[in-house]
Symmetry: D3
Subunit: 238 residues, 6 copies
């Protein structure tokens, strides 16, 4: 697992997930690196960048669900609350079950105290009005009142997981914004960040030209003449 530098994290805060997924496809051939089927609890607070800390749930069995108490030191969720580093994004494989909540207000509060910057799950969340009040950016399938033992058991932390059909390794860089959640392989993050910042500048310039009435042909993607104009414009901006 390649650690991602603070500079890369900062750069990625300026790059939308739409740009990131485009770079991952065109440059690296990674086709679907956004998690489908989930959305933010609070669209006004849905932006974050950080390395993934993963938790894997498995389907419950009635005789285990109620006894695998989070008060048990072996409980994987408890371990997550004890070990997750500040700056992390907490990513849960909830087996796609939206009918129960992976985190509620107490555990989200704990994650906030530990400095977690975002939460992502392919399942539900409970106490969503409190989560919204805490200001924790959280992506999930939607609100769900029942606690996770109704359907799931936390099994292990820091394993590679699938979240909404997307592979997430511990340490992958997770980016959230209004368009959803993108997953960047850790070893590509620095390069994607730099390319992303450049692409955002170009895209913004193209958007402005199109807003002025410019034809899509030649602008999107830009031909050489327009690329030259963009470079000139960029040079003028300093």
């Amino acid at each position: 697992m390649t650690a991602c530098s603070p500079e890369t994290i900062q750069l990625l805060k300026r790059v939308p997930t739409a740009a990131i997924t485009g770079i991952l496809l065109k440059k690296y051939g990674l086709r679907m690196r956004a998690i489908p089927g989930i959305g933010p609890i609070d669209p006004a607070h849905c932006r974050f960048v950080g390395p993934a800390f993963t938790l894997r749930y498995v389907p419950m069995r009635e005789d285990i669900a109620l006894t695998v108490d989070i008060g048990n030191p072996a409980n994987a969720m408890l371990q997550a609350t004890q070990q997750i580093p500040a700056g992390s994004v907490f990513v849960m494989d909830m087996c796609g079950v939206g009918a129960v909540g992976g985190l509620g207000d107490v555990l989200t509060t704990r994650m906030k105290v530990r400095g977690v910057v975002g939460v992502v799950a392919d399942g539900g969340m409970r106490d969503v009005s409190e989560i919204r009040a805490l200001g924790m950016p959280t992506f999930c399938k939607g609100p769900a009142a029942p606690a996770s033992p109704s359907a799931l058991i936390p099994m292990a932390i820091q394993q590679p997981i699938g979240c909404g059909g997307v592979l997430v390794f511990p340490g992958d860089i997770i980016v959230g914004d209004e368009d959803g959640v993108a997953v960047i392989p850790a070893h590509l993050a620095a390069e994607v960040a730099q390319m992303g910042v450049d692409k955002e500048a170009l895209d913004g310039w193209v958007r402005d030209r199109v807003a002025e009435g410019g034809d899509i042909l030649g602008l999107y993607p830009p031909n050489e003449a327009n690329l030259a104009k963009f470079e000139a414009w960029k040079a003028m901006q300093g």
Copy 2:
């Protein structure tokens, strides 16, 4: 059907659905008593508590759908609008069909006039901007312009129904909030209400301790030492 006292209704207004579903599972072994796959038309007005008054739809047949007019005294929806008592939650089994609307502005107005406190359906709703303006808390699969005869026929009132895969008896206590809709068997409502109020106080105290930096281990769930601290705190509050 055990009637639920006004005191129980009042107590339950202080208990979130997240706590209710937890009690139903841990105390009574009732695992999934929240209706999945639906959400509020207006998240700012989604709280209610009341006994269920049920309507059962069946799939339409073209020659019946247009003639089973709501103007016909035998129409089950008409019967509902005539018989539903004030304080009720109107719960509809729409066979999971989200593409049509179970209620629109006229019938929701009627329900409001009759004192209905909430509406729940595993299907769509139409005239949602008017429903929002009326302030009627309504949970459904989402907006849908077509009226129900496009796909469904109202067949009977006050039968046991499935709503989103959850059994609802007439008289069951239905609770709505930001996390969704919980269904409490009528005969358990009083006990659940009392346990819920107690659990909310404890959970709030735990949340505050965790927010102060307390470890999850020993707090959630609380061990004996922390339970004693909570009891002392509660005694101090009066």
Copy 3:
């Protein structure tokens, strides 16, 4: 394809999709003319009326997706951006794929420049915060960061398409509001518009009577006595 007059467009702005779908069913036997499973990016800006300009996507193949560049004159999306007339609603058959975005900020800007009044797709959209800022009414399955080449290829414009299981011919009149999107066959639009305006007046009057405490029976639908009262009231309004 019958062109729809500006007067019809203006009339339809006063008719909700709930009324339109009702008329299409009861008068013409057209049962499901609303597109299910999609919603507005911005519920505060979701109203529009205009003729459909259609684009058909097909599933991608890896060797084509990246080379069928929008910069290629034969690209169907490019053709749409060059040819779509002002006042149109841009309707895309995205094969129901919500995991990628059919339009982003650049193309939506272009559509705005061309005078497009609304966008409808049975797939995702990217750059949704920019789309919201542009004020373009857009219905889709939700936000999706990946661009369409991750899963789809634009194949042709102005063909009859299916969008969310609903047939849309180029020139059909598309109406959007809080309840969703309705599709009116072009040759019926003028008649539906007139009937819709009349029905809205009646429905509003019925709603007011029900709000005053009137019984549903005899009002909804109105019997002859109530219809006479409505006509008298309408005459008084001038």
Copy 4:
């Protein structure tokens, strides 16, 4: 409920479901009268015709599921086994749950003893190898080992139900064959039967002409010249 004569039942045994659904659409405007998503346990024994006897399941609740014993006289399934008349098709609304079995070997044996001619459910079946050995024509979503109390409770008999999204009234005529299960409204059965027998003769003749190399145009559907040839052929057959 209009009873269906034995003659009609006999005629319908010669009419495939493909012809029946075609007549219901073209003659009566009933669009989807076949139950989708189910298949026969034994394709070699899937043909039957008879009036529907219905059972309605609702979702289980853990405290009821195990106590609503079939040994209880109030149990709806027990009532079905006591009351269903010989010649009936037993149709169950299983809420679309394929993960549990609606009938097993004991109850299917009982149904056979009572003279039931077919079983249809929008859920699973258990003991399917025994059901196959008993020779009871049975359509369902597939095999499922768990008994119905794992997910469902039998609630009532002889109510109108939805089965796979298709409305079934008690007494509707249910027809099964290799193409699936069709539902004929009781009052139309006699007419559909007669039209079906005629249509089958015509279709067979058309098929033979096409097999000889005849063009589809003019044969399918037949034009007047070909209809005359068919009538002449039919007259020759006696």
Copy 5:
């Protein structure tokens, strides 16, 4: 569209779809070239190879479905029955609708008369027992009694289509066997055929070695030593 030689068609009859999809992925980066969610009507007769002749359905509209008669020369299905060349595989985009049948006995008979070698659709088929009797290899979602006008309208022939989420161009080579249906881009077919025949020989040799007790490691995939043994064995076979 590159025409595919008879020699390539012959070679491909010896190559299973499992090998074809593997070559398309490893050699050309084409990831999912098999149509998911469909199966053969008769597993004993499911093998075919031929170029695609495509038909595109769109969702029905009630006023069109019954009037767009196959007896109308403009009907796309009629055109298909008149124009499809011998040796073709008839591939239908049925919008994924399994509840209706794309072909029945008459049209399948016609296809057989014209020399069609296989039928593939992402929807249902009717008259399946007759189709089985005709011996026409047919892949679909399963039997469905209603004819296609219940839900679909044939719109156009020989357009690029999506079938079960897989892009199919007219002329692509379609291969069916017990594992399903693979779609080979026309211009790659000759190369895939040759590679496939070679791979089949190798895989058979590997399978025999594993059956004798050989370790997977070094055999699957074969290392150089084992490749040399295979080449020696192949040389001995002549």
Copy 6:
């Protein structure tokens, strides 16, 4: 993990999954211990009993899928082929992906050589005609030509997994028959086996009485009088 004795395995071969799931629910409160949504490749060879050996797949990433070769000693599938003990049932968590095959002919041959008695996956299988010829009892979602790297990567062996939403621990006893696949927690297997054999005897006797015309009431479940008759009958059998 409690090892299961050979005697228990032998006993369980006489107990159908329908009986096993009933015992798990009624005796232990374990509600859904059968894997839904899968079926046998060959219904004539679908019976097996053995302890689970598990493999966990995760979603693929394009840059890993092709390089994580099964020829790499770290590959989890390779490890499975080297380590799985004779008598095991090989259970794969394929993330529910039916569009690719978890095993093909070579690996199934290897499993057969190692003495594996059954294969279960919540995904597809390839080379199904060869698997059928090998006589390996295999449950899956159906045939799928593409190899697993098209969508999945084998990640780990012998972890607890979810398979079709059912928790499976390594060592759990897996039983397959015509009704599907049941999962028995290892520590309950001996008791379930004994109860199952007893229950089968009783159920057979009940079935015979019902076949003779006995009423369900009193027989199913049997009342005391009938239980006494059964015991007498059993004593007579020796």
